[in-house]
Each structure stands twice: as C-alpha cells, then as structure tokens.
C-alpha cells in the first residue's frame, strides 16, 4: 500500500471516529449509558496502555497499577477540591494547614498527579527493579496495597481524609467551545499519542529488546537499569493521569476505589487486547467496559418469559458470565485480539487480500468439484 493511500485512510478513519464520538454526544442524553461507557472506556484504555507499556513492551510484569492510579487520583483530589467545599469534605478530621487555601486548576492537577505517580515509581523502582519476574510482580503488588492502606490511615487523615475518602472533586468542565463530555477523550488521546510515539522510537525498541532477551539486550549496549526505570516511571506517569481522570469521572475517591481487583481488571484488558499491542489494549478497554457495565446488565434482571421464570438471572449473574467469557478468551485465544501487532492499514489490506484469495481458492475447488460431477 502506498504512503498516500495510507494517509488518506488514516484521515478518513480519524474523521469517522470523531463524527461517531460527536454523534454519541448529540444523540444521547446526559444519563445515557453510552456516554458513561465511552468515557470510562477511554480512561481504562489509558490505564491499560500504561500497564501494557511496562508489562507487554518492557516485559516487566507489574501488579502495582492500582497503587499508581491511587497516587494520581488522590494527588489530584487533594490539590483541586474547591476551597469553599473543603470544610464540608474534611468535616471530621479537619484539613491540613497547607491545603486550606489551595485549589489548583484541573489541568495543573492532572500533570502534578502524573508527576507524583512517576516520582513514586522512581523511588520504589530503584529497589524493586532489581527483582526479576514473579518477585517483581509481588513487590509491586505490595506497593499497591501499601498505598491503599496508607491513604486510609489516620496519620494522613488531614490530607487524604482517612477512610471517608474525598468528594467534591471537580469533574470535567467545558473547555472553551468544547463541551465537558469531550475533555477526557482529549486528555486520553494526547497521552496515547505520546505513548505511540514512544514505542515507535529507538527507546521503545530498546524496551522491546529487554522484553525479548535481557542478556542479549545488555550485550548490545542497552543499559538495563536505566531503561527499566524509564519504562517504569513513564508507565506510572500515565497511570497517575488515568487515576486522576477516574477521580474526575467519579467525583469522589476512597481507598476502596483502588483495590487489587482494579489492577486485575486492567490486566485482563491488557491480556484480552494482547500483551504488547497498544491498539489491542484500547479496543479491549472499550469492549470490556461496555460488556461489564452495559451489555451484560440484562443478565442481572430477573426475567419472566410468559410465566416461565428464566433460571439464574439475578443481581451479580453478569459477573459470572463475564468471568466465563474471560476464561474462554484466555484458554482459546491466548494471543488476545491483536497479539503483539499494532493496527496498520497494511495489516488490514493483507487480511482482506488473503480472504479474497481464500474465497477464490474455494470457488476454484467448487468449480472443480462441479466439473467432477459433470464428467
């Protein structure tokens, strides 16, 4: 395929996506399921991609995602809750003196949330990145739990409000002429573009080399400690931003917003999308969120067909079906949706071509078979 046709295709696809997104806004009401699924899907897509950068591209199996998201979310919440609502939020423990008159604009809060998560990653990275495979996973898992327990602990109560959590977090607001609905998509798109640029540059290739073979990568002059730290810090930066976006979306955070299950949910998205494929993670994020929060909801409602009571259908049943679907995916479709490949027009072109030739082959076979009968 030529470069020009590819570019035209890309522009068309981007325009189509944009039109669909605008349609999802204009054609639905504020309480629409589609709207919230798309927004949440975008936030999870960012979280999944940041996890994929570490787990799928650098080969470092981390389970600390929820911890870094919690750091981002709490940092954002603490810094941006409006001054006049602070008394209401911190009604039990009071607010720390330094924070009393502090309320940063959302964009600054987002950046600081990312930087804070990155700083935590740099801090613990020096220690945990010496560990290999399972041990690294366990150490990062421990970190996530420590964060969750620390934010709910009493010494930090005047900052994080203990187990009561923080509320009145500013949500998405209109950005000039752009309605608030589009803000998370813009932030996520910017972050994803940066990540795509990163995985496609020389440093991204070095990350992949570490995933493929650490010893060979080091022998080829790649400084393992430096590159692993870079990957860990960058991944955490975006995880922090995803956490902050989640805080904006929910409007309130507690330590229980970031349980171990959150990490596993994101890991599932990464696995379903394909470890080592950003586009896979994005597609899987929307699919999983839509299935979990929306499409499978029908299974949660007790249903009668005529006088027949459909068995099993009751609150929580969708999670059973969801889990079974996941098991099937992992058993029979281990590569995930995209494997290690990224979306490309060449890929689609080749797929269509191979389908055509297969059809042609089938036709020829059919013709031959027909000929056989005639004879």
């Amino acid at each position: 395929m030529e470069k020009k046709t590819k570019r035209i295709c890309s522009v068309c696809a981007a325009a189509a996506l944009l039109v669909l997104l605008i349609l999802s806004y204009t054609a639905t009401g504020t309480t629409s399921m589609l709207r919230s699924v798309l927004q949440l899907g975008a936030i999870y897509a960012l979280a999944a991609c940041s996890m994929n950068l570490l787990n799928g591209f650098t080969g470092l199996f981390s389970l600390g995602q929820a911890g870094f998201m919690a750091v981002g979310a709490y940092t954002f919440a603490v810094l941006t809750i409006p001054v006049n609502k602070k008394a209401n939020v911190y009604y039990l423990y009071g607010v720390a003196d330094g924070l009393k008159n502090l309320a940063l604009p959302s964009w600054l809060g987002l950046i600081i949330a990312g930087l804070m998560a990155a700083a935590f990653a740099a801090l613990i990275g020096a220690a945990v990145l010496r560990l290999k495979s399972d041990y690294f996973a366990i150490a990062t898992l421990g970190f996530a739990e420590i964060v969750r327990i620390c934010v709910a602990s009493s010494p930090l109560a005047r900052v994080t409000n203990g187990s009561l959590g923080l509320k009145n977090i500013p949500g998405f607001t209109d950005l000039g002429f752009i309605p608030a609905y589009f803000v998370p998509f813009i932030v996520v798109t910017v972050c994803l573009v940066v990540m795509f640029l990163l995985i496609d540059c020389s440093f991204g290739r070095a990350f992949k080399a570490i995933r493929e073979d650490e010893i060979a990568a080091e022998a080829m002059g790649i400084n393992l400690a430096k590159h692993k730290t870079l990957s860990f810090v960058i991944s955490s930066f975006f995880a922090g931003i995803a956490g902050a976006l989640l805080a904006m979306y929910l409007g309130a955070v507690q330590s229980t917003t970031f349980p171990l299950m959150l990490t596993y949910n994101i890991l599932l998205i990464v696995v379903i999308g394909g470890m080592g494929s950003m586009t896979g993670s994005i597609i899987a994020a929307f699919l999983v969120i839509a299935a979990k929060e929306w499409w499978l909801r029908v299974l949660d409602v007790e249903t009668y067909i005529g006088s027949f009571h459909v068995p099993f259908l009751r609150t929580g049943f969708r999670m059973v079906v969801f889990s079974i679907v996941l098991m099937v995916v992992v058993l029979f479709w281990r590569q995930g949706i995209m494997g290690q490949k990224e979306f490309s027009w060449d890929g689609i072109y080749n797929r269509i071509k191979s389908l055509k030739t297969r059809k042609k082959g089938a036709n020829i076979e059919k013709a031959n078979a027909g000929g056989g009968v005639n004879e």
Binding site: S202, I222, N223
Partner: protein, 279 residues
Amino acid sequence: MSNQNVLRVCDATMQFGGVVAVDNLNLEVNKGEIIGLIGPNGAGKTTAFNVITGVYTPTNGAVEFNGERVVENHPQGKMKEMYRGQNDGKYKDVKVLTPDKITKLGVARTFQNIRLFKSLSVFDNVLIAKHTNMKAGIFADTFRLNRAEENRMKEETMELLRILDLAEHKDDVATSLPYGKQRHLEIARALATNPKLLLLDEPAAGMNPQESDDLMKFVARIRDDFDLSILMIEHHMQVVMGVCERIYVLDYGALIAEGTPFEIQSNPKVIEAYLGVDD
C-alpha cells in the same frame, strides 16, 4: 601489523564456589588479529568470554580494553578464604563495568546459543543495536526532534543488512530465518554497535563443513571491511586452523598452550587434552 593491544586479559581467575572455571588466564589480542580460543567441552571458554564482557565479575584479575582497565577484582569477603587461584594480592582495585558499558567502549559479542530478539523483525534486531551509540535523549527521541539521527541509524542498518546478505529478509521475523542466517544476523547485530573487538562464541556450531568454510571466509572479510580484531571460540579444528593467526588452548580453565596453528597442531599437551593418551 602494529603491536598495539586491543584486549589484554591479565591473570583472570573465575571461581564459582569451589570450582575454578577459569584459572589464571592471560590473553592478548592485537589490532587486526583473528585469535582462536579452543579447548574441550567445559574448559571455560564461554566463562572467559563472560568475564571479558562484564557478565561475570572475575574472582581475581583484570581485563584491559585499548589500554583502559574495564574490569578488575580481587578475592573479597567469603571468597578470601575459599580462593584457590593464583596471584592473590596482585590486584587491589574493584572495578566492574556492566556489559552495556563495555559494549559502548567497543566490545561486541555473539552467543553460543543464538540469542536474537525473537519476535522482532530482522531489521529491528539490527536497528536496536544502533541504540547504543544514540545521542538523543528519550524526550527528543519520542517527539521526533532527532529525525536526522534516526534516519542515519536506519540507513546504516540497511547498509549492514546489505553487506551481510540479509537485505531481502529485512521484514521477516528473526526466528523464521534458517539457522545459518540467524548466525549471520547475530554478527550483523554485533557489528551495528560499531565495535573494535568482536567476540564470536562458536559461530560455526551446527554448520556443515561447507557452511563453516564460508563462515570463516566471511569472518576474515568483515575483519578487513570493519577494521576489527576478532576473538573467537570454535570447536571445529579445521576452521580455527584455517583462519586464526594465533590460538589459545584452554583445558580445565587453565591455558595449556598458545601459538600459531602449526605449533598448536603438534603440541603434545593439546593432543592429550583433545584425544586423551594411553597410560
């Protein structure tokens, strides 16, 4: 040929627990030479490579590259009592560069059991090695502020693939190549780091006589084309004898002979180590 050392291994001893894998190895590679390192299985050849490239820290001894000390160590801690090698006390410093730093200085290697970046393309395998000498930082690189450098890296990679007859396979996955080509690719990848010294670990392993003969011609060619010095481990005696200027023979970790291929062939110690002798 000038008499300038590219590589000097001084009294290197590598002891794992009570086992002395490399015992007091002294070895020199001069500029432009092709040197063979041979010995029976388990003689410590690959361990010697790992000491030179910084994968292992020697228990005692030093390694110099272009006159610069890149590795130096002496028995410490628990090893102090366990040490069974020689020259204890001769080396005082502790300096061990990590493999990537040694590669940056100009020592590249291949592996005995091929270690390619398996699921990446042939082109990417070589391009990744170019990352070693990249100047731009991660920020400039991500936001494409170093287009010129990136393009130069890609051109040089393509050039290398052309020289090594891999250009037609450039988009293939590394592991889909036939075995001989994979060995070529490993050498291409090592060359991409702009080395001055190339360490080849059994480059002809698993090849038939014809293929290994071609490989040796190829090794001689890249030595001239890339202005290299080469140190190689090899089992095929014919091959080593054909291409190497000097040969070192290891047995049970210790050097038992060194000299020209002709001298080695008639050395009774070498014959004993390889074939055994009747009592």
